[in-house]
Amino acid sequence: METAWVIPALPFAGFLINGLWGRRLPKKFVGWIACGAMGLAFLAASRLLWILLQETPTGRFWEPVYYTWIRAGDFQVDVSFLIDPLSMVMILVVTGVGFLIHVYSIGYMHEDPGYPRYFAYLNLFASAMLLLVMANNLLVMFVGWEGVGLCSYLLIGFWYEKQSASDAGKKAFIVNRIGDFGFLLGIFLTFWTFGSLNFREIFEAALVRFPTGDAVVVGITLLLFVGAMGKSAQIPLYVWLPDAMEGPTPVSALIHAATMVTAGVYMVARCSVLYALAPFSMGFVAMIGCTTAVFAASIGLVQNDIKRVLAYSTVSQLGYMFLGCGVGAFVAGIFHLMTHAFFKALLFLGAGSVIHALSGEQDIQRMGGLRSKLPVTFATFVMGSLAIAGIFPFAGFFSKDEILFETLMSGHWVLYGLALGGAGLTAFYMFRLVFLTFFGESRMDPHAAHHVHEAPRTMAVPLMILAALSLTGGWVQIPGIEGGRVFGAFLDPVFHEASQLLGHHGGATHPPLWLEGALMGVSVAVALAGIFLAYGWYMKDPQRPVRAAQKFARAYRWLFHKYYVDEFYQATVVNPLKQAAESTHQWVDRRFIDGAVDGTGSAFRSLSAVVRRIQTGLVHHYALSVLAGACVLLLFVLAL
């Protein structure tokens, strides 16, 4: 584990090579470097997991220290990592899913002139993300946090010649800045309170010093959660994520579905002790998560851009993860994070394959009937949809069900009901997507239809691997069976203190099996109802959605325009800020600052207009003044 640094260092080396010399290297080599770096990082991570598993469950905790970054008085920040089951899961997801998406990108980005730049950014992203999840203190985590934000900006605006893409990049960056500001304040408050930023030291001190519900801990956790709202796209800062779909599709899969946006969930889980000490924050997290889950799902119902539907779905699924964390089921939240990384990466890559096949078409109203033309994409996409809808035995079933179950167990009836409804919406909009894209009559542009082709092998193989993971990924956490909670048992030591504080059952005194089984039945029934409804609306009677849209025109308009949230922000935040900036420019900048600068200049000009008469240009005058000066000096000396 002393060599754990190679895991983030490998992608960084790939970034340096491709970033510095990528344009002069052959294309094939660029792709090999980028994927090789990720593949090696994944192997190193697997080896680390192997070493970690040799330890006893409570001894799986390493803090390799590399060097002291800051030392001032008692305050010290090291560049050091924290390797424990939680960060291990994240490392494996980032390197594993990241590697598959890198391989996919070789095929997807093949024609793009910015090929080396793309891979350089992608590697830089992976490196920053690994730094984020491996950090053992808030400051190093913040470096990674900002690093992934930067890469997100660069990759959303990758096709920067396109106005909408560069706008979306800026929007993502600025909205994230708001969250990061809260996060930074949280770090300051943590430092002010504990005098340290090291996770272990903070948690130990917090357990000793603060009773449950102390205002300081509530403040810290809420501020940190503001950061998570920005990065993980929760209400009210979710608006950047749907626009982030302007980036290349593999970027959407890697950054805006599988890894970066889950950083907030990871951070909350990492600070589980602090959150457990602040019940108010926990409730807040759960409420925001649940609201976002349902809110985003409802918008996803009527969107027509295949990637935007998936984007709202991501926002919604992130809400579920926060719901899990908020009700104290950190394991369930992280579990859903992992399975979501599998199936959402798969869905995005599948969508990318469709877009690739249709020469850039993203509107599902202009697709249809692609099932026979894109068999691999179709099969894998359906598997991903079944997984996200929560159909047994796909991965999403186990993780989402655990969140729902834990929500109910913690006594949040209302949240459970909402989340269950959201699950139904999820199933509906996903299968709406499947039916409109792959079934029915072709509504394609005849020109595009002519060129439709199945994905090349570099794209198809990652799809198949991810499809397999979407199917099997949930089997590491099977409830109700002896020894079925492999994943939970692995993570439990990390959340030990938090679950003790929350008085959790911790898997030992399990609630009755029949209840769990019954709730599973309810979840699957709701998901199947959603799918069946989608079938009835979009397969059997394609005119029905149109009629419904006409009948509920107002509701449809609200959903279609995403509740007018963007317009609302534009009117209440963006425009007033712009006006304030404009008047500051006019009054403070132009009048005050420019006036002071110009005033200094003109004052000296008018002063010099008087003084410069002395300078006649006549040598005699100068000689005379030298003489006069000499005489004055002489008199002065004599007078002394």
């Binding site: 010099s608 410069r612 008469r613 006649t616 240009g617 006549l618 040598v619 000689a623 005379l624 003489l627």
Partner: protein
């Protein structure tokens, strides 16, 4: 019989005064130059006089330095005057007054 030192100093002061007047009143650059030489040599005279009166060699040593500096100054000064004449066709300093406020 030795002449008292203040006689030399009076002559030196007179020479210096003539030099100053020359610099201040004459227009011709070469005459100004000569006046400067007069001032330098007034200084030299004082040096030598003091050297004799105080019975030390320091003053005479300084005179050599002054003469070297004067020689160097003449070289540069004459070069400037020649260039001035080539460009302006004049060596009257009050006609050359571009550098003014």
């Amino acid at each position: 019989m030795a002449v008292p030192v203040h006689y030399y100093l009076i002559v030196s002061a007179l020479l210096f005064g003539i030099g100053v007047l020359g610099v201040l009143t004459r227009r011709n650059a070469i005459v100004i130059f000569m006046s400067i030489e007069l001032m330098l040599n007034a200084g030299n005279l004082s040096f030598v006089a003091f050297s004799k009166a105080l019975e030390g060699l320091d003053g005479q040593l300084f005179v050599f330095f002054v003469m070297v500096v004067a020689a160097a100054e003449v070289t540069v000064g004459l070069a400037i005057i020649v260039t001035l004449f080539r460009n302006w066709k004049t060596i009257f300093v009050d006609e050359v007054r571009l550098l003014k406020g």
